[in-house]
Symmetry: C2
Subunit: 590 residues, 2 copies
């Protein structure tokens, strides 16, 4: 129907300065209360909430106001009026005024919603997703969605200003190995053939560089058919970019400016650039993680040299068999942890993969430690001094002949301690580059070396010679950007010539034939004049989640999917007609 | 390798004012020529081309310059110098200067490309697509891709400024009937079930309105598995938007501002708003098309009344059987068309579906017409006057008992004549709204009425009563935006309550059960407070094509697909492993 009342103001914008204005508002009824012969309606639109008062003087409106219920959609004509002193609500921006309602139009009635349209209403997530249209009306969810839009806009403004071209790359593309599992789409026009949905626009962005586009970006949808963990979605959004004629420093420097610009525009967080950089090796040694959380200290110290001459067989054996002994100092830990709690800590370390956890408790009353007897007092002194530990502290150690295990288990314990002891300041935002990743990593599953990032990542110039002899030692021109212990994004300078790319595939165990079968179009493209190039991709859902301080990635995605990759709102995926399958030249085989 | 020469200027930016500057450039070798003991290299990057001259004074650079070939990627260090008078090339912006090359670094060699990197090189399109990275280096293709990026940016700037929120809607979603054929994606985690790729975000944007987002937009990828015509792609891009609390005028008015802003920002075209509006009926009557090209006149005139009393049986029968007689006046047509050419025009009309084409040739020497004998001279005078025709003109008529056929065939003839007679000014950009579309159209294939736009389009208020009795007569709150005879986009005000939506499905022949099965989540959502809402979607590929004056939509898509929906660059779609199919619970059936 043609609407009689034509909105001329938004609810949340009204202030004392509008007193006396005739306003037309539209929105949802947050609440209706009857009080002292008047009807009070809190009217909500995207901008906020305003109070509308109906009195019997406007008879028709008053009658209609009596009909309305929560979540009815209405339009209201009325006059802005200052609230009587006693009714002022300083907690909301419109709390000094109210609207004297003169006319109501009911645009849509509403059943009683299955949950309250309020932030604090506790609701099962499946119910929220099923009624997403109600869930999105809650102020926080609304703000999350608006935030993402602002985030996108800020990113685009910066990149446009810096000469980046937005290019859309195909969603219906080719299935390629060397990644996660692909989503497949049967082709009707090409019987027996399938498209794959892209896991990232990686190959296309490299082709664009070879095509002379020089600076590309895209806020791109990507797809991975993996079993879902808490913060994974079958489809997710990447900020994807690529630049030509650049080296590692160029990409890092531009991206620092990007992050500073974007984060400061959409949040209150101050960002200082340049960000610290740490090599992969250093990150592993100090933090036991390739995405260290640097909001607190408690860095790991290697004491292998200091224990090699002790009588403690566990430590000695570990070091002598190519392993390490590392420890962290829990400041004030002696006072914080009872003997029983220390035992619990040992159990925790085992959960994280360590064989055990040795400790030295520097108590007021003297050193307490089950391993002290294996050390001379100078050796103990020396150990303690390596941690700058003092009375009241507690030092814990992990030893193993597998150095990786020492680092990761102690790294996990470090994070656990920080959370338990509340060491992390909530308003700290520590950005950090991790560089010089290993080019390869060993895949237990495939019993071969696979690319740590992807097969297009360039080795460091000084390590190229290692590809022939000890490729597992080669480092890559790869970098990750880490925020507060979470990987925000990662990228690399790419290989840009056929020979090196073929060599890389050889190292990965591809025959030349297989390499050309799978990636022939890229190898071929390299032969026609390819600029050096590199780039980065950010997980945009995760970035939004972190900047908003959310616990779940699903709270900043309008229509996320559940653990089994389904959508409670639409019931996707669903069964389809046999006719559809027949046209696609496939049949079910369950 | 670490690059020694670090780019500090772009080739195309250099001018006389840079004389004496030491510059480092990077790019592709457009040409290399040896002349008078010097080597001339045209170096190309995204910004343009600059000439670099190597002389034997810089021995090493001179030697390397001798090695390079077209499409090598190089970096050059040199000094900007004014060209000698006789070498100035005023045709290019950098034509007044050249670079005296002092150092060269070859970054990548290149084979001889299969076609020249020039706009005019005639190349088979399949070859262009296979070597898209070379094709994209051609100036026009590069400009097309950059144009799209600017177009997107302008759209986003306007919509952001006007309170629209960008929201990403799912690509993995639910298969729904009532549209084109879906692309399907088998679900691994839900055996026997399939996602569908969206044909448009229609239902999600309506859900967003019900969720209180009020103003939404998205530059959205959409998918239709149809047999491809020249300007169709299996995946295409829509500018999709939706607004709450609006009527037809609100959507139209905002979109006129959008189009003016965007087109004037990215092209030299001046856009005057408001655009003319024409109802569907008027468009069909005057132009025989629901997307009229108004860059020229030659409007159709209905002469049914004027011929009903003639003796010409063909005309009389048509009108008496519920049909029409319509004609157009070809100004100066008597002079332009010989008798033989008029006969050809008759054949053309038949190609367009007309049973025949009657004509009155108002020649200098008097009326010539095979049908004149059936009319009195007053009747002929009267007919001629209805067209304001004068001596030298040629009037042509189509008659049929099917009025639709009269309009569309004559409409096609009108377009054909405009092209043949060169009546269309190339630099005219006529935007036009077509409104009041029929709600339904009869589908010969399905033997039932189907929605002309889609089942969510609201009927006009004054026509709602017709749904009960004669639904085929009902008009919709639907509008298309037409540019120079091409549909740029279309939209509507949507139905926003369950009862009317259920009624609509009933009219479309859906049982209540089937309606709820397929669209239950929308029908249910309507019950919880739904604002009146409406929107529009533009075909963005087509918009770019028209604004760029291209003949093919593929020339403004970075990686388009061919007629059989395949990609010559990557060879998608392709065969996949049996293992992959097994995981997806499907098998081939060819």
């Amino acid at each position: 129907m043609e609407k009689k009342i034509k909105r001329n103001f938004y609810c949340g914008d009204l202030r004392e300065e509008h007193e006396g204005n005739d306003v037309c508002l539209s929105g949802w009824v947050q609440t209706r209360r009857d009080l002292g012969g008047l009807i009070f309606v809190d009217l909500r639109d995207r901008s906020g909430i305003v109070q509308v008062v109906f009195n019997p003087e406007y008879e028709e409106a008053f009658k209609k106001a009596d009909e309305i219920r929560s979540e009815y959609v209405i339009s209201v004509r009325g006059k802005v009026s200052k609230r009587p002193e006693e009714n002022v609500n300083p907690k909301i921006p419109t709390g000094y005024i109210e609207i004297i309602g003169q006319e109501i139009e009911i645009l849509s009635k509403a059943k009683t919603p299955p949950f309250l349209i309020e932030d604090d209403a506790k609701v099962d997530e499946i119910v929220r997703l099923k009624y997403r249209y109600l869930d999105l009306r809650r102020p926080k969810m609304k703000e999350n969605i608006i935030f993402r839009s602002k985030l996108n806009k800020a990113i685009r403004d910066f990149l446009d200003e810096n000469g980046f071209i937005e290019v859309e790359t195909p969603i219906l593309t080719k299935s390629t190995p060397e990644g996660a599992r692909d989503y497949l789409v049967p082709s009707r026009l090409n019987p027996g053939k399938f498209y794959a949905l892209p896991q990232s626009p990686q190959l296309f962005k490299q082709i664009l560089m070879i095509g002379g586009m020089e600076r590309y970006y895209q806020i791109a949808r990507c797809f991975r058919d993996e079993d879902l963990r808490a913060d994974r979605q079958p489809e997710f959004t990447q900020l994807d970019m690529e630049m030509s004629f650049v080296d590692v420093d160029d990409v890092i420097s531009l991206n620092e400016k990007l992050i500073k610009y974007v984060v400061e525009r959409v949040t209150d967080i101050k960002v200082n650039i340049p960000f610290p950089r740490i090599t992969y090796n250093e990150a592993m040694e100090k933090y036991g993680s390739d995405k260290p959380d640097t909001r607190f200290g408690m860095e790991m110290v290697d004491v292998s040299d200091a224990v090699i001459n002790s009588d403690f067989k566990v430590f000695k054996d570990a070091v002598e068999n190519g392993g390490k002994v590392k420890g962290i100092n829990i400041v004030n830990g002696s006072n914080l942890f009872s003997r029983r709690q220390i035992d619990e800590l040992v159990e925790k370390a085992k959960e994280f993969g360590a064989k055990g956890l040795a400790w030295i408790n520097i108590a007021e009353e003297g050193i307490k430690s089950p391993i002290a007897k294996f050390f001379s007092s100078e050796q103990i002194e020396n150990l303690i001094s390596k941690f700058n530990a003092k009375t009241g502290d507690l030092i814990v150690f992990v030893a193993d002949k597998d150095p990786e295990l020492v680092m990761t288990s102690l790294g996990s314990l470090r994070l656990y301690l920080a959370k338990t002891l509340n060491l992390i300041e909530k308003d700290k935002f520590n950005f950090l580059w991790v560089t010089e990743f290993p080019l390869l990593e060993y895949s237990e599953e495939e019993k071969r070396y696979v690319a740590k990032h992807h097969p297009f990542t360039s080795p460091m110039d000084e390590d190229i010679y290692l590809l022939e002899s000890e490729p597992w030692k080669a480092r890559a021109k790869a970098y990750d950007i880490v925020l507060n212990g979470t990987e925000l994004g990662g990228g690399s300078i790419r290989i840009h010539n056929t020979d090196l790319q073929e060599k890389m595939f050889e190292v990965l165990g591809f025959s030349k034939e297989r390499a050309w079968n799978n990636f022939g179009f890229l190898l071929k493209a390299f032969e026609y004049g390819t600029p050096p190039h590199g780039g980065i991709a950010y997980g945009l859902d995760r970035m939004a989640m972190l900047l908003l301080g959310l616990d779940s990635i699903r709270d900043c995605i309008a229509f996320p999917k559940t653990q089994n990759a389904s959508c409670p709102l639409t019931d996707a995926p669903s069964e389809v007609d046999q006719k559809q399958l027949k046209e696609l030249h496939i049949q079910l085989k369950i």
